[in-house]
């Protein structure tokens, strides 16, 4: 690392075995940093307001490959055979094809030697520098993944997509100026140190990426959680957040290890970027996660640091060890991780999982469900990241709607059953790069048919539902029995079994379980008293319902909501106290 020029000079050796059934005539290299090389890259062509971070980078970056040769071909220079730009996109250079002079047969190994320079941009999203803080991610030419059938999973860097590669063993030696602390995954060994610089070596196995950070103000806090050695790198001001991060790691490693499978590595690194580098926060890499947030977060009743830590830790399973493709199926990593995080936060903090103050508490699930309803009827959830159009759409559907659908399935069909099905999927596809069809097959085996259909429709088609009570009629009493009739409607492509609760004028409350509501149907309920209120889903299990405002209907005027009236009056009178002229 040249900390003054914000560049990393590197040499790399990639040893790749063709484990597919088909000879390989070419290779593909991800060169993600070239997204910041010029304003016409695929990444920067997208409007800032549509991206995750709306900032522009004032200082460009890039990945310059200066040498590329293959040992098995007599150290043949492959640089002339390296494409200058991404396929069909002359303005982008993040997806580079290497045309091989001879095919690599199935089972054969090719060893590539590369020399490169990573030019770090001013930090905009994930990778770059801010002051002396260096987020060195996607910094080396990374081989794309090849499937068993010989298909290369290559793609240029899209603003809405993340990263994908294949598992391998990494042996990385990092050289930085003295005074800089390195935060990297895996176990470290000091290799050499002189008056101005020092070198550390990091070895990790069965991972598909390697990101590291260097800063001259890191303070390291370590802890041992069972077999996992955790290290948190943060500034001195972040002591409170560091403590809460470690508590969350301990809780998360224990819970996720029990629910899914034990964390499969010996080390876990957490980086808390400073406030001026917050664009590097909230990100996951194998064995390394980044969090973020101001130093006083822990003291103001917000559980943001816990939520962020658990979310990124959850990615060590859904992204890290399971390695679904983040570009093609973001729902399988962000969606499942968001569900896992919400479950953990609910277990830890109950209904105060997001905001917890003496005056007011809000659960994460409540907010997530609200957001999910705003992104209904937008199409299938299992689509490639770029197809979501903008980050708000991706976040609303993948981070909020999919976990809300899972919450609904859990509430209706059984939480334990859902958790077991997802755990089964996780265990079966460890280190296996599953796709959506693998996930659905696991759900089909583990869940009821109705639950499976809800998932399948939502992932592949457009899953939405709106249950409503649309009418109540009461015929005059004959022989002391009133002919109460309640009209129900179900709109949408999803269906769930549902409870109907009826309150009568004599105070009696009764419930009926309905396996399936037709698009429109009448329920007859003869009884000695008139119906007063009919409510569908009184326990609010179906969080994915589009409109909660039509699930109940009263006969006659609404009840007086004196508590609600007092709350409104109170809020206005507080404003009055401070605003009276």
């Amino acid at each position: 690392l040249d900390a003054a020029q914000h560049r990393v000079q590197g040499t790399e050796t990639i040893e790749w075995r063709n484990s597919s059934e088909v000879p390989a005539n070419e290779l593909y290299l991800h060169a993600y940093l070239n997204a910041f090389a010029g304003p016409r890259s695929r990444f920067l062509r997208q409007a800032p307001e549509h991206r995750r971070s709306s900032s522009e980078s004032p200082i460009p970056g890039g990945l310059i490959i200066r040498k590329l040769s293959a040992r098995e071909l007599g150290d043949m220079d492959l640089l002339p055979r390296l494409a200058k730009h991404s396929p069909d996109d002359p303005d982008d250079a993040t997806d580079l094809r290497v045309d091989l002079p001879t095919a690599v047969a199935p089972g054969q190994v090719v060893t590539l030697d590369l020399e490169f320079t990573a030019v770090l941009p001013a930090l905009v999203e994930r990778a770059g520098f801010s002051g002396t803080f260096h987020a060195i991610a996607q910094w080396y030419p990374k081989l794309a993944r090849r499937t068993k059938t010989g298909e290369w999973k290559h793609f240029s860097y899209d603003a809405l997509a993340e990263f994908s590669s294949d598992f391998g063993d990494y042996d990385v030696t990092l050289d930085v100026p003295n005074g800089f602390v390195i935060a990297a995954p895996g176990h470290s060994t000091l290799v050499a140190q002189d008056a101005t610089r020092h070198r550390e070596r990091y070895c990790t196995s069965a991972v598909h990426d390697f990101a590291w950070f260097a800063w001259d103000r890191f303070v390291v806090t370590t802890a041992q959680f069972g077999t996992v050695n955790a290290r948190v790198y943060a500034s001195r001001d972040q002591a409170g957040n560091t403590r809460r991060t470690l508590e969350s790691l301990k809780f998360g490693l224990d819970q996720f290890g029990t629910w899914l499978f034990p964390y499969p590595y010996a080390d876990l690194t957490v980086v808390h970027p400073p406030d001026n580098a917050r664009a590097a926060g909230g990100m996951e890499y194998p064995q390394l996660i980044t969090t973020g947030g101001p130093w006083f977060l822990s003291d103001v009743g917000l559980h943001a640091i816990e939520a962020l830590t658990l979310h990124e830790l959850g990615h060590q399973w859904f992204f890290g060890a399971i390695a679904s493709d983040e570009y093609w199926f973001p729902v399988l990593d962000e969606g499942l991780t968001s569900w896992l995080e919400a479950k953990a936060m609910q277990r830890r903090f109950g209904n105060a999982s997001l905001i917890d103050t003496p005056f007011f508490s809000v659960s994460e699930a409540a907010l997530r469900h609200l957001q999910a309803r705003r992104y209904s009827r937008r199409g299938p959830l299992a689509i490639p990241a770029p197809d979501f159009g903008d980050f708000d759409g991706l976040a609303g559907r993948v981070y909020a709607r999919f976990p809300t659908l899972l919450d609904t399935i859990g509430a209706v069909y059984g939480e334990a059953r859902l958790a077991t099905a997802i755990a089964g999927f996780a265990r079966k596809y460890r280190f296996a790069h599953p796709d959506v069809s693998d996930f659905l097959e696991a759900m089909r085996m583990g869940l009821d048919h109705g639950a499976y259909m809800a998932l399948s429709t939502s992932l592949a088609s457009d899953g939405w539902v709106d249950f409503a009570v649309t009418n109540i009629t009461v015929a005059p009493s004959t022989n002391g029995v009133f002919e109460n009739r309640i009209q129900l409607e179900r709109r949408g492509t999803l269906d769930f079994p549902i409870e109907l609760q009826v309150q009568f004028e004599n105070g009696h409350i009764a419930r009926r379980h309905i396996v399936s509501v037709r698009s429109s149907q009448w329920i007859d309920w003869p009884y000695v008293s008139r119906v007063r209120v009919a409510t569908l889903d009184p326990e609010h299990r179906i969080a994915i319902d589009d409109d909660l405002g039509n699930q109940s209907r009263r006969v006659g005027p609404p009840d007086t909501n004196s508590r609600l009236a007092l709350l409104i009056h109170w809020i206005l009178s507080i404003l009055w106290s401070f605003g009276w002229p």
Binding site: G131, R217, S235, D237, Q238, P274, D275, N276, P294, W295, F296, G350, N351, A352, P358, F359, F360, S361, V362, S363, A365, A366, L367, H369, L370, R373, V469, Q501, Q503, V533, T535, P538, H540, D547, L548, G549, Q551, S552, R554, P558, D559, T560, N561, S562, R563, L564, A565, L566, I568, H569, W570, L572, S573, I574, W576, S577, F578, G579, W580, P581
Partner: protein
């Protein structure tokens, strides 16, 4: 000039109750349509259910009625503006009625009111404008010093400095409000022009700023503590989701806080009127 006479017993209490009842009436002008929109939501079947489980279902109701509240927002804004304007009239009436024990005839009070209302409106507008400019300047400073200080002081140090700028801006805002109130007191006492009243107010504030500052701070902190402790009690003991008795406790607490807040405000107004009288006597000597 007639000597100032102490008001009759019960006069201020009647004034307080009148102001409290008027405030309630104006608040309910805005609250009623909002309440009608929210209480129409069919997503709950009991009043109490809204406030259970961390008020989660209250969020659902707010979200379910979002479009309804948006549709009402223009009407609510108009109602709010009307209520604020009406409260300005009430406030002017309060100033004059507090001062009026020196005057005996109702026609004089009405005449006094007509003389002062325009000037007090000008003071209200001027106060709002001054505070807006002040806060705008503060915002620019607040935003620009962060990047400059952070490499030197770190995150925590920078945040503390930024907080200090906020505190300074808050003190300056408080000073503007105090000067505005003293100006109102001068206008009501002397029927002076707004400009003359402002210059007199600045002289009074210049002479008595520690006393005025501490008194104002004490009253504001009392209102804050009152409202905060009411909020704590209601939420901590879950009075809104409890029995009818606990709900009654919530009602009593909320209304008592509102009445006490008005009392603190009226006490401040009476205090300023006395201070202006004291200043006038000093100047005359």
């Amino acid at each position: 000039m007639k000597a100032w006479r102490k008001p009759r017993e019960g006069y201020r209490l009647k004034l307080l109750l009148f102001l409290y009842a008027s405030s309630i009436g104006l608040i309910w002008c805005i609250a009623t349509p909002l309440y009608a929109a929210l209480s129409n939501a069919a997503v709950f079947d009991t009043d109490v259910g809204l406030f259970r489980a961390g008020s989660e279902w209250l969020l659902v109701v707010l979200d379910a009625q979002r479009s309804c509240i948006s549709a009402l927002s223009a009407a609510l804004l108009m109602l709010g503006s009307f209520a604020y304007a009406a409260n300005t009239v009430l406030s002017t009436a309060a100033w004059i009625l507090l001062h009026s024990k020196r005057l005996l005839a109702w026609p004089s009070i009405v005449d006094h009111f007509g003389d002062c209302i325009g000037k007090l409106v000008i003071i209200a507008v001027g106060t709002a404008g001054s505070v807006a400019v002040l806060l705008g300047c503060w915002y620019v400073v607040f935003g620009s010093i962060g990047a400059w200080l952070e490499p030197i002081l770190g995150e925590r140090g920078t945040d503390w400095v930024q907080l200090a700028t906020f505190a300074i801006a808050l003190c300056a805002t408080a000073a503007i409000f105090i000067v505005a109130d003293v100006t109102r007191a001068v206008v009501v006492t002397d029927r002076a022009s707004t400009r003359f009243a402002l210059s007199t107010a600045l002289q009074i504030c210049g002479r008595a700023w520690p006393k005025l500052g501490f008194d104002a701070a004490g009253r504001v902190l009392s209102v804050v503590a009152l409202q905060a402790s009411t909020a704590w009690a209601v939420t901590h003991f879950q009075w809104l989701s409890g029995t009818a008795l606990t709900f009654f406790a919530a009602v009593v607490s909320v209304e008592a806080s509102a009445l006490l807040s008005i009392m603190l405000r009226v006490g401040w107004m009476a205090y300023l009127l006395r201070e202006v009288q004291r200043f006038k006597r000093t100047v005359r000597r």
